[in-house]
Symmetry: C2
Subunit: 217 residues, 2 copies
Amino acid sequence: MALIRSVFQDELDSVSQSLVDLTSMVSASMEQATTAILNSDLNLAQEVIAADEKIDDFQHEIDARIIDIIARQQPVASDLRALVTALRMSSDLERMGDLSHHVAKIARLRHPDPAVPTELIQTITSMGSAAVKITNKTGIVITTRDTDMALEVERDDDEIDNLHRQLIGVLIEPTWKHGIETAIDLTLLGRYYERYADHAVSISRRVYFLVTGKFAS
Amino acid sequence: MALIRSVFQDELDSVSQSLVDLTSMVSASMEQATTAILNSDLNLAQEVIAADEKIDDFQHEIDARIIDIIARQQPVASDLRALVTALRMSSDLERMGDLSHHVAKIARLRHPDPAVPTELIQTITSMGSAAVKITNKTGIVITTRDTDMALEVERDDDEIDNLHRQLIGVLIEPTWKHGIETAIDLTLLGRYYERYADHAVSISRRVYFLVTGKFAS
């Protein structure tokens, strides 16, 4: 029994490590997508778009492993909850990859024109850095199950929400001179970063709940 | 063994019925959100916003039941896959509820002003009807596991994508006279309907995969 238990624990740790690897892939993807959109870098945008398939494949592989562990080990109580939570986290991460992909697609659509006008470069730069920072912390939360850091991720999300409000504020200023099409792009971009960060928060909340049995508030 | 098997089948059917009930709640929510935004109906918008909590609670209840069934019945192979798929479908449905809620929040934010200018009322009306139609079909797909209808849902989604393109087309016309703020609202609205329908497609694809073992293409 002790042996089976230990194999199970190894399998759980290996799933957790894969989720951390997926987190790194997603973080790199958003970092590159942000660089691509700020520099109108078509090649980098294409790379991000192509990498999304790798993220999806890796997610499917992780999910198949989790389902296989449930079928073979028939875990109950907290072990089963940890595995179901892992399925949900992989789904959050896959969606974060989609959102980086959406950012890269706007870069590709507008290339060779810049998608982001000069007065919003700082805001998008900051949204991109905040998104990468929050993803990296989320990876640490998955590894360490550090509940304080899980709450920190929640606070970091407020930073992205503030930047998002700033962005919309610039778009609706009477001095906005870049027209509706650019405003539409920027509205969607803002939404993509915001949703991306929401999924990171959701992962941290899931870890928090797993460890404490309580919802983070 | 036959008895246990039959209890398990009953439990699976009951989960399936709850997912159909959740689908109806989500469909009603999007129908009301669309009416609220078209008629600037603040009370109805508030109702939709309040009902989102009921949708979330019901989803949590369904998920807890699914996890309890996995723990007690320790299903393998196709039974386990069906239950994992049910978890994913409940998560899609919960997100569809969030998106109706977002539509209602735009209605509330702009009230007493209309959020949708006259020339886009027809497009939003059609997006709303298409969203409700696709959700109701999704409910039938969950009940009947009808793979032809699952593919139909996929085609219905093209209708929403077309309407979405029409919407953006109107926003970027040089004759657009409602300013940036309204364009931002309509960009987000279009995105909400599009994502809502994407989740319905995702549910139908999951059923298709469960029945055929193949991805719908």
